[in-house]
Point group: C2
């Protein structure tokens, strides 16, 4: 998907919501757990009810992997379902991969070609040759971890060299890589105060922002400090939406949560003059 198309969809839906598919079978309603393919059944129900309010879906690979071969089969089925029925949705494999050249190329091929995702989250620690292989696929994106939303973010991401923090160095350095126009960045909502300095380094790039909702980040702050003239934001919510209810009405409850967020987002898009 081109970034122009993504922006067009954001305008049409008046939303920059990404729904995170962190599917934990211990948390899905019991009647779903007893179906033949509970991961897919749950995801399909969530997608069918939330697609009007969201522009993106982000399956969290760890959850699928933890169910072994069945999990990977379900991930594949979910990706096919999305690409066939909702091709206007941007899809993100939240895999946080990071490995040397030939290995990175393998991961890129697997996610972009076998599963047809639009973007993969990628870890920066190993540097340029761990990321560039993801930037050679037309209209596909690597979403580079920069400043994450978890407590451990403070262990290394704020390491300071000549007045510059590591997460800022990651942003700056990455701009010189081949295919940098296909980079997006993970910036946690729990660190919204850093968004102003981040936008000085990467004014144009899309940011994937986790941590709104369950993790305590504020959608208002993220939108105020992070939005650019082309929106430039995909704000993710996982647990707050998909586990809004554990009863039979779970998909309607998810839709209602997604709609609430979408309506707040419409307000920020309007204020910025994007819609």
């Amino acid at each position: 998907m081109t970034q122009e198309t993504l922006l067009k969809n954001i305008k049409a839906k008046q939303s920059y919501l990404c729904v995170g598919l962190d599917i934990d079978l211990e948390k899905v309603p019991e009647f779903i757990r007893n179906t033949e393919d509970p991961l897919f059944t749950f995801a399909k129900a969530i997608i069918d009810k939330t697609h009007s309010y969201a522009v993106a879906y982000k399956p969290n690979l760890a959850f699928f992997e933890s169910y072994g071969v069945d999990g990977w089969r379900a991930f594949d089925k979910i990706m096919r379902y999305l690409n066939e029925n909702y091709p206007e949705h941007f899809t993100i494999a939240d895999a946080k991969r990071g490995d040397i050249g030939n290995t990175a190329a393998r991961y890129a091929k697997a996610f972009f070609e076998n599963y047809g995702v639009d973007a993969v989250t990628v870890a920066p620690y190993m540097g340029k040759d761990a990321v560039e292989p993801f930037l050679t696929f037309k209209d596909k994106y690597a979403i580079l971890l920069s400043l994450t939303s978890n407590p451990g973010a403070f262990d290394f991401q704020f390491t300071e060299e000549n007045g510059k923090k590591l997460f800022e160095k990651v942003l700056q350095t990455s701009l010189k890589w081949n295919g940098a126009a296909q980079l997006m960045y993970v910036v946690g909502a729990t660190k919204a105060s850093a968004l102003t300095s981040i936008r000085q380094i990467i004014p144009d790039a899309f940011l994937l922002v986790p941590g709104v909702g369950a993790q305590g980040g504020s959608l208002k702050e993220v939108s105020e400090f992070g939005m650019n003239e082309s929106c430039g934001l995909l704000v993710n919510s996982s647990r707050g939406i998909i586990y809004a209810s554990h009863e039979e009405n779970f998909a309607d409850a998810a839709a209602s949560e997604a709609k609430k967020i979408q309506q707040e987002m419409a307000g920020y898009l309007l204020k910025k003059g994007i819609i």
Copy 2:
């Protein structure tokens, strides 16, 4: 596996060789490619012929993932084969995972419980809560990326704060984490000169050293600067062994390469007084 058992195996085999299973179907002999399960068939042949010279096997997950569900099924089958037939071998899932708490816990459970590996490689960028979930499984290990063997290592790993480089900060910080005794570290053979300062920070931990052979690292230097009184080294070779020949004799050629390395290793173990 306990570290005592690992050392016992190192002494018995007079080897600290880890064979990397980076299986690329384009590189395996044609008659293997045409079998029903070429990934497993190739791995089994390599394992059966090299096990006397190696103490560890390291399947590279990217290669398996790139073959989708079939790849995961083959990885599972290889792990079962290893655990049933060669339980004295230490097994490493080279997955370089790194994600927040609940997600990291998922990955740990998948690799240690579903697949029965002894260790998983883990990326440090997200900090403590991305690693600690791997350190709660008895006799299982997280192998933390510290200084990698690829060119991109220079992008961020040498970021310097108060005279300390990021890879050194990763080592030092990780020592304070819960379960730190179950940490091992990735240190690339191409940066062997750093091993002296690394050993000052982590004198006792096992190091997984990639980059010998195809990537140009020297086994002699790694052994000289990195070995401690309990060996403390697992040196990996992938392509140099498994693709030693592309003909029918590929497994014998692999054995012969592995044996060559094992014999050199025996010399270093002897010199250090370990055997």
